[in-house]
């Protein structure tokens, strides 16, 4: 890498170091922003320095968990990994994680990069670099006001993937018709992962589905079974578009919830294409601790608290299903409408809150507390069992006081709400 690029990294690192010392925060995004200002193609040059290549992880839900799973496995296999673990997944966040890893001479100790990438930023990231692998998890409606419609993202991704070299391997979800459609434009080999498990079929379809119609011909897709949202065993009755048989399937033992089975299968499939032995994979999975806010368990005054980040209908339904399987009774729903959450909270009406049992005790807070409380009312929750308030600290305190010892408070927050809840519970900020 030319000295100039190394120099830019040293400068960005220096500024971020001093600002951290001065208590201004090290910044998850702006060291990268500084480096990008000086050298817009810094990502291209830096990614070439990583001898074992870069793995990108894309999709609406599961990016953070999947990229952490891949990182954990690779580290068990002796790799040195750079990873944007805090979820800063725009170009500046990825570059920031690189700057942080570099030493004071602007050199990298890592050999592999594992980066989760924001849906909108994927085309831009791919224009800067050709990853050795790209993982595509799923595509759901999410923050319509920010991302636009699912079809718009699909089209952008298809275009971006078509420009990749043959050497970029694609690892993709066979059970999401939208994802399979996107992968068709990639020149490299595609390895599919998926679930073959009749016992996991939904008995009743969820309302929040996005790709129920054939992307090739427009016919309504036929499903032999649905696992969640539009994820399942699909085929088009009118043309040749059909679910590919997944090469990687099974029921890996890590985390709970069907959606995490997909995340684990994605990580296993990815690591298999990198020649990592199955033994190493399973050893790594056994030691796995969840990413922040994703089924993370925190304690407060002897009460157990479990955080299930829930930021769009498909993810929220998956969270609800998982906590209800754990016989949850005490809930705290926190709905914010800041930029990272999406300004439009209409989507909560696509979540199946009707599945909450009558015995549930519900606490509600966040910027849009009354929107959420109203949603629960129309889902059939008795309003006398809903405690709603704008002051999160106070509602959290009330909820923790109400939970009997030995019981768990299940917290379902949107993104910025999750960070707030964590800060209140741990007394620390992570972002």
């Amino acid at each position: 890498m030319p000295f100039l690029y190394r120099f830019v990294i040293i400068i960005a690192k220096g500024i971020s170091f001093f600002s951290a010392r001065l208590g201004l925060g090290a910044g998850e995004t702006w060291p990268g922003e500084i480096a990008l200002r000086f050298k817009p193609d810094i990502l291209t040059r830096v990614s070439e320095e990583l001898s074992e290549g870069v793995v990108l992880v894309a999709g609406t839900n599961g990016k953070t968990t999947t990229s952490l799973l891949i990182t954990t496995i690779l580290e068990h296999a002796g790799r040195v990994v750079i990873h944007n673990a805090t979820g800063a997944n725009l170009v500046n966040g990825i570059v920031s994680s690189l700057v942080r890893n570099a030493d004071w001479l602007g050199r990298f100790t890592a050999d592999t990069g594992v980066f989760e990438v924001d849906e909108n930023s994927l085309p831009q990231v791919l224009s800067f670099m050709a990853p050795s692998r790209i993982v595509i998890l799923n595509l759901f409606r999410d923050q319509l006001d920010r991302y636009g419609e699912v079809d718009v993202i699909t089209e952008k991704w298809q275009k971006a993937l078509s420009g990749l070299p043959v050497s970029t391997q694609v690892i993709a979800n066979s059970d999401d018709p939208g994802v399979v459609w996107v992968t068709k434009s990639a020149p490299g080999t595609v390895t599919y992962f998926g679930v073959n498990d009749k016992a996991a079929f939904l008995k009743k379809r969820e309302h929040a589905t996005d790709s129920m119609f054939c992307a090739a011909c427009g016919s309504r897709l036929t499903y032999d079974g649905i696992y969640y949202s539009h994820i399942g065993l699909w085929r088009c009755p009118s043309c040749s578009n059909t679910r590919p048989q997944p090469e990687v399937t099974g029921k890996p033992k890590v985390l709970t919830g069907l959606y995490n089975r997909y995340n684990a299968l994605a990580a296993i499939a990815t690591c298999r294409t990198m020649g990592i032995s199955l033994g190493t994979v399973h050893k790594a999975l056994a030691s796995f601790t969840p990413a922040f806010g994703r089924q993370e368990e925190l304690g407060k005054n002897g009460r157990k608290v479990k955080l299930f980040l829930s930021k769009n209908p498909a993810g929220y339904n998956a969270s609800l299903r998982t906590v209800l399987e754990q016989k949850a009774t005490y809930f705290l729903f926190v709905l914010n409408d800041r930029i990272p959450d999406g300004r439009d909270v209409s989507w909560i009406w696509d979540v199946d809150f009707e599945t909450i049992p009558a015995s549930a005790v519900c606490y509600v807070s966040g910027d849009r507390v009354y929107d959420m409380a109203l949603r629960l009312k129309y889902a059939g929750v008795d309003t006398r069992r809903i405690t709603a308030g704008q002051d999160l600290a106070s509602v959290l305190h009330q909820a923790l006081t109400a939970v009997p010892s030995g019981e768990t408070l299940y917290v379902l927050p949107t993104y910025s709400a999750m960070l707030e809840v964590r800060k209140l519970l741990t007394g620390r900020k992570i972002l």
């Binding site: 079809d151 427009g218 209409s346 009406w349 696509d350 409380a373 949603r375 129309y378």
Partner: protein, 244 residues
């Protein structure tokens, strides 16, 4: 007064982008809380128009482009004319976002030809060009029509590229307090024709604006309705009104 009603939900699998079903939930629950049995009837591509004809209230929501194209042919040829007849006869109906545009005469994209609408409402929608800003954000407006609800403050969220202008047969629904409304120029939001309302307030419009839900329901059952405890609805409505 009717004790059983059927709520036609047009294209729930195609025209339901962002929480649109909140509207049918609101209609159903607010009926049931008054001991009126309400059945949600999904009306989609394969559904016969005879099913639609038996309904007492109509709802149609927003859509993505691809899905709207799939629904579009069916609506223009099959369901649209039936809906038009029902609206002309005074059937209560709510059309939000894409449906609001689609029941108009046409939609003109910034490139290409006019896309014909069902012509149920006397209005047209044009996209002002790819440089034009989308109208996105939280909204509030004061109802003008129906006159019995005049002054009621409605709240919601809008997200549309097209600008809509009303023809002479339409009455404006509301005056914009915050947001863009029909076209960002004349200060009007939505349109009313007989007992049918169209608006850009998208997704779950009725839950936070229960007066509209009750106005539609009263027309469906043919009688005035007993009031409900709407404290939470009122709080939710007032909490999101922009500070002026």
């Amino acid at each position: 007064m009717k004790r059983h009603i059927q709520i036609a939900w047009l294209y729930p699998d195609l025209m339901s982008t962002y929480g649109d079903r909140g509207n049918v939930f609101a209609l159903k629950k607010r009926s049931e809380w008054r001991d009126i049995e309400a059945k949600i009837v999904p009306v989609t591509l394969e559904t016969s128009v005879s099913v639609l004809k038996r309904c007492d209230i109509i709802f149609m929501g927003g859509a993505q482009d691809r899905q709207q194209k799939i629904a579009g042919d069916d609506f223009l040829q099959n369901k649209g004319p039936v809906v038009q007849h029902m609206v002309e006869k005074g059937m209560p109906a709510l059309f939000v976002c894409a449906a609001y545009q689609f029941v108009g005469k046409y939609y003109k994209p910034y490139q290409g030809d006019r896309i014909p609408g069902a012509g149920i409402f006397d209005l047209v929608t044009e996209h002002p060009g790819d440089q034009a800003k989308r109208c996105i954000g939280n909204t509030a407006a004061a109802i003008i029509n129906p006159s019995e609800l005049s002054g009621t403050v409605i709240v919601g969220f809008e997200n549309h590229g097209g600008r809509t202008r009303l023809g002479v047969k339409m009455k404006p629904f509301a005056r914009v307090i915050a947001g863009y409304g029909n076209n960002g120029e004349d200060g009007y939001e939505g349109a009313v024709y007989k007992n049918a309302i169209g608006c850009y307030f998208h997704g779950p419009f009725l839950p936070k604006n229960p007066a509209i839900a009750d106005w539609l329901l009263a027309r469906a059952v043919g009688d005035s309705l007993a009031p409900l405890n709407d404290d939470l609805e009122r709080t939710a409505n007032e909490a999101v009104r922009p500070q002026s």
